[in-house]
Symmetry: C2
């Protein structure tokens, strides 16, 4: 289901084609996050028009609300949310730990109270696979345990054994069909444990591999070091997905190391906080200096927001909490990510990834 | 600047063409409300695509934030907000009374504290005209005093004298140019005072006439009675604008009495509360019965929301407070108003307004 079509000469970057039940998608790719079955502040076709072919949605959130049966009755997630591109669902492992209350992890599964109504719920690897199957995702992820980046070696080791067992149970309960299943490699901040996790996961022979638990607060140099150590142990012909990375520099550097897929709520979340991605930095549109700035967010950008509206207007919309302001910043930020990913694909084919990376660093340091 | 092009045979409804500095607009017309220089949850061209040619914006709000000088520096309100259609601004009279704190009305003007930061501000008829001129509205409104509908006869009489004096000062300070000025007729719930206000205002010879202070809580039959009494005293060849009415039945009944223009925040405001206009009633999408309703909001409607999404999905979006939910309901509600106004125009030309009114009442009584 994955074919590498081009390789950059000087880096490990590669370009590829990922076949899904909802069409072939080009890699490297970025998935906007549609937590609640909507990319926040966007119409689905606007997401498509920005060049995105796959979005990520959350099994955890949709399981708790509106419920799998509702999405199923709506014809599955694609039909329910009006998105005819590909969808990857995450398994819920990350959300259980970050949102659930009174979380108790046991070999059988994770018991916790819902962040919505406090109801006691129990998520097992088998249930996660069932949920993702019934949602109709094109790519499902195994249920994993995500530890905070401060986790000690012993805790990480124990967690990896659990994640490995859960991965195996996910694989066993996953029905073959249009949906494929990706495993997830963890291992905290320990290069050797990352390698061990990669080996354990690859042994189970998944269609692709997520790399989780990176970019969670550690210094960038360590992220890249651990990422490189991990990727050495992932088969070259499988898609590699770096979970939760959505800043421009982070995407570009990881592509150069051989990553194919990304997701992150960052571009859409900071938009709703009033921030625009410019260069590899950010502008805070709440800043009073934008009140009378008649220029666009980004003179280099040709997105709908930059073509039609001034910083002054967007500042006003952000200060008055107008929905159009959040929409315009979301359009802009997603455009920036889409443009970068597209440039990376072109650069891979022309052998220019290193040069592109240098150019990105040059414009770093915006506000 | 206004020409009646067709009259319905059995009612007083008329169809016309209103010339503005931003193009000719057809009447009867409805103006979506762009309080903060944006029709909430909409892109400007989406408003245009729904068939609207004019929006209403608020001098009071834009004066306090972002400030007239900011809008002026942005090339005026049209350029600032990216709207190339016509704009009518209200004078601020209504907002002073409804939003201002410690409001003191004196012959010279209205002193109050800003609802934003408590700053003491003073709005005079001359200042309101200056603000609306600098914003660059196509149609400005005179500064008036709006009383609650419980106001006693004596209070209404005194208020009408003040509003008449303010109207005269507005007219005197209004510079002729591309912008035209409408007077506002008040008079509370008293038919004879409405007539008196109409006479006083018409004597000042405005380009058009707003009818304010109706549909503020009184029974519908009284609204129509007072409206009819007022309209008898407004010249037939001038545009008549019923301020603040945006429900479908209210628009249709007022058109039949000879009203040409409407504005109301109702369609967009109830959308953000989760309500869809259907028939001449409303559906509350928060209602649990929509959780599994796979049908559209309105089987009769061909809007973007009804063509692409189910009630079940919109219920989910409303429950999760997703921006797309507010956007879809706004699109739907504005579509319904646009469709009605368009049907009314056609019905006027074909002499079918009475029949259209009967049809509307038949589908009344939705939730």
């Amino acid at each position: 289901m994955f074919r590498v079509t081009d390789r950059d000469e000087k880096t490990k970057a590669r370009r590829g084609l990922l076949s899904t039940a909802h069409g072939d998608v080009e890699t490297p790719l970025f998935m906007p996050v549609a937590t609640q079955a909507t990319v926040k502040a966007m119409r689905p076709e606007q997401v498509r028009d920005l060049g995105f072919e796959m979005v990520l949605s959350n099994a955890y959130h949709l399981w708790l609300r509106p419920g799998v049966e509702v999405v199923e009755a709506g014809g599955g997630l694609h039909s329910f949310m009006g998105w005819d591109g590909a969808i990857l669902t995450d398994s819920g492992g990350y959300q259980v730990l970050s949102l659930g209350k009174d979380v108790k992890i046991a070999p059988e599964g994770a018991r916790f109270r819902s962040h919505l109504d406090g109801a006691s719920v129990f998520l097992t690897p088998e249930l996660s696979i069932e949920i993702q199957g019934r949602l109709g995702a094109d790519i499902a992820m195994t249920l994993d345990e995500c530890l905070p980046y401060t986790a000690e070696r012993d805790a990480v080791e124990a967690s990896l054994r659990l994640t490995r067992d859960w991965a195996e149970r996910c694989r066993e309960s996953h029905r073959s069909g249009a949906q494929v299943l990706f495993g997830i490699i963890q291992g905290g901040m320990f290069a050797d444990l990352r390698r061990w996790s990669a080996e354990l996961t690859v042994q189970l022979d998944f269609a692709g591999y997520g790399i989780g638990g990176l970019s969670v607060g550690e210094p960038r140099s360590l992220t890249l070091e651990l990422l490189e150590a991990t990727l050495e142990h992932v088969p070259r012909d499988t898609p590699r997905y770096l979970m939760g990375v959505g800043d421009l520099a982070g995407i570009a550097e990881a592509v150069a190391l051989g990553v194919d897929m990304f997701d992150s709520a960052l571009p859409t979340r900071i938009a709703r906080n009033g921030s625009a991605m410019v260069g590899t930095g950010r502008l805070n549109l709440k800043n009073a200096r934008f009140a009378t700035d008649g220029g666009p967010l980004d003179a280099e950008c040709a997105c709908y927001a930059c073509r039609n509206f001034s910083c002054s207007y967007i500042h006003h919309l952000v200060m008055t909490k107008e929905i159009l302001g959040f929409h315009l910043l979301t359009v802009h930020n997603l455009s920036k990510v889409s443009a970068l990913v597209s440039e990376l694909r072109t650069a891979i084919s022309s052998g220019g990834v290193e040069e592109l990376l240098r150019g990105l660093r040059l414009v770093d340091g915006a506000e």
